[in-house]
Amino acid sequence: MRLIALLLLCLCATVVWAGQTTPFKLDIGQGGKCVKDPEWMRKNHMQLLKHQRDEAVRKGARDDKVSLKTCVECHASTKDNSVIARDDSFCVACHRYEAVKLDCFECHSGVRKSYWLKRNAK
C-alpha cells in the first residue's frame, strides 16, 4: 500500500514537472521535429535509447532514425556542435537538474558526426 502511494506521488511529481516549462536553460540544438512527440520523449527517451542500443549492437538491426548519433546530430548545440560541452547542453541540463549521471559519453561521441567528419577530414 505504502509502495503504491509512493508510486502515485512519483507519477504526480513527474506530471507536474512535465506540465511546466523547464526551470533551467536547455539548448535544444538545431530544432526541427523530434523522432517522437517531445512530451513522450521527455519521459521515455532512455527506454527508446536502450532498446535501440540492444537491437543495433546485438542483432545488427540499425534503425538510423533513432540512433544515438541521430539524436546528437540534431540536438547538438549550434554554437559548439556538442550535446555535452556546457551546463545547458542538451544531454546535460536536465540530467544535472535531476541528478542523473550518464556514462554514455565516456564512449560515445557527444559531437555532431557531420562536424566530426569535417574536422577529421584533413
Binding site: K59, G60, R62, D64, E106, S109, W116
Partner: protein, 238 residues
C-alpha cells in the same frame, strides 16, 4: 551454440524471400545491408582469407588503417589497444619467413564468449564476434581465454572518439571486422587499405562469393586449427 542454430533455422523458415536477395551472386550482400533496420542474417558468415605470400614484411598499412578507422592511438605499450598487429614468423628448420596480420579470428565457437560472465562477449548472427560494451564489466576473462591474444583492455579515459566507434575506459575491445562499415555495405578498413590486396573479405557461406570460390581452389589454414574453433579468418601460404 544450440541457441544460435535454432535462430538460424527459424530465420530460414520465416524469411526465405529475404534470403534469396541476400545470396544474389556477387552482391556480397552490401546493397541489401545498407541502413537495414532488420536484424542481420544468420545465412551470412563474414570472414577473410589472408594471402601471406602477398603480405610484405615491414608493411603495416592494415594496422595504420585500423587505428585510424577505429580511433586507436597506435601506441605499442602493453596498455595500448591493438586490434590488429603484424607478426613475422620463421620456420627454423627451413628458414622460410612469412609475415601476416593477426587479429580476432571471429571463431564459430569463440572461447571468449564461453567464459564471459555477463554475456557481453557475443557472436552476432552473421559470425562477427563482438564485445557489447554496455554489458562488459572489464573482468578480462575473455582476454585470457583468447588463444590469439586478440583483445585489449582500455586502461585510460578516452576523448573525441569516432562517433561510429564508441570506446571507453574499463571495457575490453577487439577487432569488430569494422562492423559499422559492414552494416553500411563497406569492407573492413584493413582489407581496403592493403596495398597488395592480401586481405580478401566476404561471405564464407555464399558459394558464389569471391572468398568462397578462392577457398575452394587454394590451400588455406586456420591458425590453431587443433582447437576446432572454426575461425572466420583463414590464411593462405602459411
Amino acid at each position: 551454440m544450440s541457441e544460435v542454430n535454432n535462430q538460424r533455422r527459424a530465420f530460414l523458415k520465416t524469411s526465405l524471400g529475404a534470403a534469396a536477395v541476400a545470396i544474389a551472386p556477387g552482391m556480397l550482400l552490401f546493397d541489401m545491408a545498407h541502413g537495414s533496420t532488420e536484424p542481420v542474417s544468420g545465412k551470412v558468415r563474414w570472414g577473410m582469407l589472408i594471402d601471406t605470400n602477398q603480405c610484405k614484411p615491414g608493411c603495416d598499412e592494415c594496422v595504420t588503417a585500423c587505428n585510424t578507422e577505429n580511433g586507436l592511438s597506435g601506441g605499442k605499450l602493453p596498455t595500448d589497444s591493438q586490434w590488429i598487429r603484424k607478426i613475422e614468423i620463421k620456420d627454423i628448420s627451413t628458414g622460410r619467413q612469412s609475415s601476416l596480420p593477426m587479429m580476432c579470428q571471429h571463431c564459430e565457437h569463440p572461447p571468449c564468449v564461453d567464459v564471459c560472465p555477463t554475456a557481453a562477449s557475443f557472436k552476432r548472427a552473421d559470425g562477427i564476434v563482438l564485445v557489447d560494451k554496455h554489458r562488459c564489466i572489464g573482468c578480462r576473462y575473455c582476454m585470457m581465454a583468447c588463444p590469439y591474444k586478440a583483445r585489449s583492455f582500455v586502461h585510460e579515459p578516452l576523448h573525441d572518439q569516432n562517433p561510429d566507434v564508441p570506446r571507453g575506459k574499463g571495457t575490453v575491445e577487439s577487432c569488430t571486422l569494422c562492423v559499422h562499415r559492414i552494416d553500411e555495405g563497406l569492407q573492413p578498413a584493413c582489407a581496403t587499405s592493403c596495398p597488395n590486396k592480401a586481405i580478401l573479405f566476404g561471405d564464407l557461406n555464399d558459394p558464389n562469393s569471391p572468398i568462397a570460390q578462392k577457398l575452394r581452389t587454394v590451400a588455406s589454414t586456420q591458425v590453431r586449427a587443433d582447437l576446432k574453433l572454426n575461425t572466420g579468418i583463414r590464411y593462405q601460404g602459411l
